[in-house]
């Protein structure tokens, strides 16, 4: 049954539901492949056969009793390591949390369990999700299955490499400035950041609370839609969680129709900043949409120019406070310097040893942005830029249903290429950040291989807040146009990981 690993989650769910194959068989297939290939990709930080198989058996037993717990019943899944799990260590890619087994499950994890999805393991990430390549993981970078010398994007590169390398059919990611969408783009997979508040953040180790959002990673638009349907919905433990349901994303995907679609191209994100091959793929997507009958207009979002600057003030500011709890008292690493140190010195030594350079950089930057005398100019202005971006978007969405941009400025770059240049790394998020600042949904769908390097490119779809269904609808339209051309998802063109 080795072809199981190339099936989409929805196909696997159907096979399991019809009892053509058991969840245990599917879970074993992905597990065995993960054990074999993870040394190549470093997608997972932790794999546990016992708990995964036990969950798969439980899913099979439920099904035998006539209980189908969700549309993804029995389909195994990988979970980013910044979500708490009571049966697996949760490190958020940091040394400071090495070996921590949380005392509670994240709401999303609890929902996965309740929906009958066995958890294969915890995926690698940039430390505390700070980064765009997983090179800032304390446990070494993950590799891109298209080319193992390249990054799989970040911070959720563990999840994207697992899904694109078929080490898991679907995965959970988190997206603060593009950490689901950028990895999806550079690995030829699909990833969505729902509207802020659509998915509970309870149990997500916070990076920047007002920007963080959990979302699905998959190889097809339908799989992401199905997964978003499983994990979303109001949670009383997250006060920012939306009270209302946003409807079924899977239904939106299945009823997608290009008729009457109005598409906006953002003037500020249609420039030479993009790699020519990426730009060519994007132009091709637009041409296909026009050919299919969509109306395309250019919209002006002047405040996008300030998005990265605002983001790199808000994120470090919130992160500096969120990461203060890592102090060696209640959990995690403790480093005690020589002599008879005070708690203050123990905390400082622990944080020095436990945090990597990028984390320290951002904590200090955030502390600066919030400190008295600088707050108004930096943090205050950045919060106002959010308002401007929302105003620009409101205006744009009054003319169009969705906005399209290339997801990433480049294809996957080489490991080591940008690691010592934080500013260059920050620019990867230029197209994805506005969605987080404004709270709107955004997703990346594969739209071809760049002509220069033959590496995957993605198109980003942005929709108004709460209109995640609209985003999925357009994602599906684009996916169908390319399926007609390629005959199979883009991922089928990836080299065989086994022989790399």
């Amino acid at each position: 049954m080795s072809d199981l690993i190339h099936k989409s989650a929805s196909e696997l769910a159907d096979l399991i539901a019809s009892k053509s194959v058991s969840s245990q068989e599917v879970t074993s297939a992905f597990f065995d492949r993960s054990v074999e290939l993870n040394p190549k990709t470093n997608s997972y930080l932790y794999l546990n056969r016992d708990t995964a198989i036990a969950a798969a058996k439980a899913a099979d037993a439920a099904l035998a009793n006539g209980e189908k717990l969700s549309p993804l019943h029995g389909v195994p899944i990988a979970v980013k390591d910044n979500l708490t799990t009571t049966d697996a260590p949760t490190t958020s890619g940091s040394k400071i949390l090495e070996g921590w087994v949380p005392q509670y499950d994240a709401t999303v994890v609890a929902r996965l369990r309740k929906a009958g999805l066995p958890i294969l393991g915890k995926t690698n990430m940039d430390e505390f999700a700070m980064g765009s390549s997983t090179e800032y993981s304390a446990y070494g970078p993950s590799k891109n299955p298209w080319d193992l010398t390249r990054i799989p994007g970040g911070s959720g590169g563990g999840s994207s490499s697992a899904v694109s390398g078929h080490l898991a059919p679907i995965a959970i990611g988190s997206d603060t400035g593009g950490s689901i969408r950028f990895p999806a783009a550079v690995t030829g997979s699909v990833g969505a950041k729902p509207t802020y508040g659509a998915v509970s953040r309870y149990g997500l180790i916070a990076l920047a609370s007002s920007l963080d959002q959990i979302g699905p990673v998959s190889n097809t638009v339908l799989d992401s839609a199905l997964l978003q349907d499983v994990i979303s919905g109001h949670d009383k433990h997250d006060s920012t969680s939306l009270p209302q349901s946003l409807g079924s994303m899977a239904d939106a995907v299945r009823s997608a129709d290009v008729k009457g679609l109005r598409v906006g191209v953002v003037k500020q994100l249609d420039s030479d900043a993009f790699q020519p091959g990426v730009k060519a793929c994007f132009d091709d997507t637009i041409a296909k949409l026009v050919a299919a009958g969509a109306e395309v207009v250019t919209v002006d979002c002047p405040s996008f120019e300030y998005a990265i600057a605002a983001y790199y003030l808000i994120l470090p500011a919130e992160a500096s406070s969120n990461l203060a709890k890592f102090d060696s008292v209640r959990f995690g690493l403790r480093v005690t310097p020589d002599g008879n140190p005070t708690i203050e010195r123990v905390m400082a030594a622990t944080r020095e040893a436990g945090f990597g350079p990028e984390v320290k950089r951002r904590i200090i930057l955030g502390t600066y942005a919030l400190s008295s005398g600088y707050y108004d100019a930096y943090y205050g202005s950045a919060q106002k830029v959010r308002t401007l971006i929302q105003q620009d978007l409101a205006k744009a969405f009054s003319q169009v249903d969705v906005l399209l941009t290339p997801t990433a400025p480049t294809t996957a770059f080489k490991i080591g290429e940008k690691v010592n240049n934080p500013l260059a790394m920050y620019l990867n998020d230029i197209a994805t950040i506005p969605a987080n600042l404004a709270g709107i949904p955004g997703m990346s769908v594969p739209n071809g291989l760049a002509f220069e390097d033959g590496l995957p490119s993605g198109v980003q779809i942005l929709a108004p807040a709460m209109q995640d269904a609209q985003m999925y609808r357009v994602g599906s339209i684009i996916e169908q146009m390319y399926l007609a051309e390629w005959g199979a998802p883009l991922i089928a063109q990836a080299p065989k990981l086994e022989v790399l």
Partner: protein, 98 residues
């Protein structure tokens, strides 16, 4: 060039409880200057009266009822602690001896 001096870096590191060597202070000051220079443009973005957005999706009055829910056991609460004693989290002394 912005104003991230080594002394400011030291102060910020102390506020954030991160031990830094002189070498790190020098590196950080250099990197932070570059970053701050590039993000300082936010100060020019806003002209006139603009409200700040601290929550991307506006909501208000989200409350929980005053109901007691189960707590962790003491054992579980202390289970991840680097050190504990007498049912409590143990930490180094707070003040230097006088």
């Amino acid at each position: 060039m912005s104003e991230i001096t080594p002394d400011l870096v030291r102060h910020l590191a102390s506020l954030s409880r991160i031990l830094v060597t002189d070498e790190e202070v020098a590196t950080l000051a250099g990197e932070l200057n570059v970053i701050v220079d590039s993000i300082a443009i936010v100060t020019q973005a806003v002209k006139g009266d603009v409200l700040a957005t601290s929550h991307p999706i506006p909501m208000a009055n989200v409350f929980r009822e005053d109901v007691v829910e189960p707590s962790l056991t003491q054992e579980s609460a202390l289970s991840a602690a680097p050190d504990s004693a007498e049912g409590r989290f143990r930490v180094a002394a707070i003040l230097d001896e006088e």
